[in-house]
Amino acid sequence: MTGLELDDVAHQAADDAMLAILAKLTEFRGESRFTTWAYRFVILEVSSKLGRHYWRNPPVPLDAVQWERLPDRLGLDPQQHAETTGIIAEIRHVVDTELTAHQRRVFIAIVVDGIPLNALADKLGLQRNAIYQVIFDARRKLRRALVASGYLEERGVRQL
């Protein structure tokens, strides 16, 4: 994003942040500098605007389901073909059997397709935290499964 488009998003974020600051002014308790408290609203507005902006020209659409890209996203070594294939199969098994349909959609969008978390939150009308919790819980399930299947040790990956 550059030029007029960037200026437009910046001005919208500034305007909306100002409204939020004025609405919350009585809640400022002096726990930080006032400017830091106020800037926080600007930062959060920018994050939200950028999430929405993603869908103007998305490099990856929702529900693209690009499992073939996951090894690269997770930094798995293509030279270790058998191990990489096994890890991905285990991840897919957990996603298919231990996640709800909603959790599966969120996981695939964020982890498999690489859609920014703020963009997905905007698209699904959810809070950022709701998306994050899905990923957080999925991480724990995946670690347990990869430990049980011998691909990971309790603290670290088994070196083959």
Binding site: E31, T36, I43, L74, N129, Y132, F136, R143, V157
Partner: protein, 73 residues
């Protein structure tokens, strides 16, 4: 760095992690502590764990810290 570092980082799920809402609710306090050179992670370990594990919140933290530390005195 070996080929599993990215996978390890992805699977990190610190039980102290407080989540986005709680982290963002004290972000201004956390940032002021960091900007003052104080140990914010010691005072807010759950927030520190979250900022390490959540990319978007980590970016917001970095952005707010940059904004307050680039202010003219």
């Amino acid at each position: 760095m070996n080929d599993h570092d990215t996978l390890e980082r992805f699977l990190e799920a610190d039980p102290r992690d407080v989540g986005c809402d709680e982290a963002m609710s004290v972000l201004h306090i956390y940032v002021d502590l960091v900007a003052a050179g104080l140990d914010a992670a010691d005072r807010y370990p759950g927030v520190a764990a979250h900022l390490a594990g959540c990319g978007p919140c980590g970016v917001d933290f970095a952005g707010l810290l940059a904004a307050v530390t680039s202010e003219p005195d």
